[in-house]
Symmetry: C2
Subunit: 209 residues, 2 copies
DNA sequence: ACGCCTAACTAACAGTTGTTAGGTTGTTGC
DNA sequence: GCAACAACCTAACAACTGTTAGTTAGGCGT
């Protein structure tokens, strides 16, 4: 045969997609289309490989989606933790809350397909996968509860709503933005400010000035 | 689990399930398990009939889910509209908003599998089905926008947030309760009050009495 | 030059999906 | 008693699902 060294290099993308590449694409598809309608063949096609090849990197579809879910929480957790701990020690409650809200919203809407995929598909995945993601989730929830409790003990937060419910309301409201947020219509930053305004002070017009 | 109605449990359900019966069960399953994982055979089995029989009542799976989505919005829309219009004419802004929030939350958490199914599966359904549901949706959204605009014009609502965003935030936050609300842990009524408190006045502790 | 490792491929499997065509009931009107 | 109809059933279809087994191809260290 003729020289094989140079003749065939042009066609196929010889750079391996790899485990991380598959995971990235899976996260994106899950975020865009949900869990049930995204098949391994769709993921494979988007990655430029064949369905069977995925099993070199993952043992099952559950394993893929479990990995996506875990990474999603880790990203938003780390983002929120750093945003809060980067503030000076004497920062006021309002500023702290604004930072936490902003960090969560940024991870969700700007930063990570993994985080947005988590929020979108958590309710659609098999229960075993959900259970596997629960510890990671609870760690992030605990981070919020700790923060909110501290502020409530300081007297900065109203005392008539228990922390768990407050956290569920807050994160639930932020996550809901995923259903309608359009980056072409406004920035996540601006949205973050509005959410903080409303959550901190309410939507009623106040008489005091 | 399914037998409940008559004392005559002998063999076959003499009473026809009918179109409405299938739709009821579809709504419940969609709410519980999402769109993609609920097959026609699951619906049929839960209804006590065979999969093929569904096609006597509906032309396709899309037709079923489209019907569920439409009913879901109609229920919550009617519920909210009546709750607000039942109030005396001189009712204050705060009371009106509390009534609207309560009506939405009640339809979602207590009243209707159709409404909760709509919220849960809207993002998972084929785009053609979503598009078919859009007009119904927009009518409900317009109801909210009208209400919020009126209150804002009266000076009862803060003026620095535009109505569309305010509505998206509000309904999004309420709908998010579906992911964690547990009827055994608290009533929808109590939850409704908390949501109104927080949304109207914010979560910060205030100095004024 | 050799063997190993990584990353892919092909081809098939058993099961499930939405859907269709044609057949079988039970009830009702006449 | 018979026809008409509504509500269901049976059986199959093509397409798609996750998954497995066995194979191939290139790069690296020795």
């Amino acid at each position: 045969m003729a020289e094989s060294a140079t003749s065939k290099v042009s066609e196929a993308p010889r750079t391996a997609v790899g485990r991380d590449g598959v995971l990235d694409i899976a996260a994106r598809l899950f975020r865009e289309q949900g869990y049930g309608t995204v098949s391994l063949r769709k993921i494979a096609e988007a990655a430029g490989i064949k369905a069977g090849s995925i099993y070199y990197h993952f043992g099952s579809k559950d394993e893929i989606v479990a990995a996506v879910l875990d990474v999603g929480i880790h990203v938003v957790h780390e983002n929120m933790r750093q945003a809060v701990s980067a503030l000076p020690k004497d920062t006021g409650a309002e500023t702290i809350l604004r930072a936490a809200i902003g960090a969560h919203l940024r991870a969700l809407l700007d930063l990570s397909d993994y985080t947005s995929a988590n929020v979108r598909i958590f309710g659609q995945v098999p229960q075993s996968v959900r259970d596997a993601n629960l510890p990671t989730r609870r760690a992030y929830e605990a981070e919020w509860d700790t923060l909110l409790s501290r502020l409530q003990d300081e007297g900065a937060l109203r005392g008539d709503v228990d922390i768990r419910r407050l956290r569920l309301m807050l994160i639930g409201a932020l996550n809901a933005t995923l259903d309608w947020f359009d980056p072409g219509r406004g920035s996540a930053e601006a949205l973050s400010r509005t959410y903080a305004d409303v959550f901190l002070n309410g939507i009623l017009e106040r008489q005091d000035t």
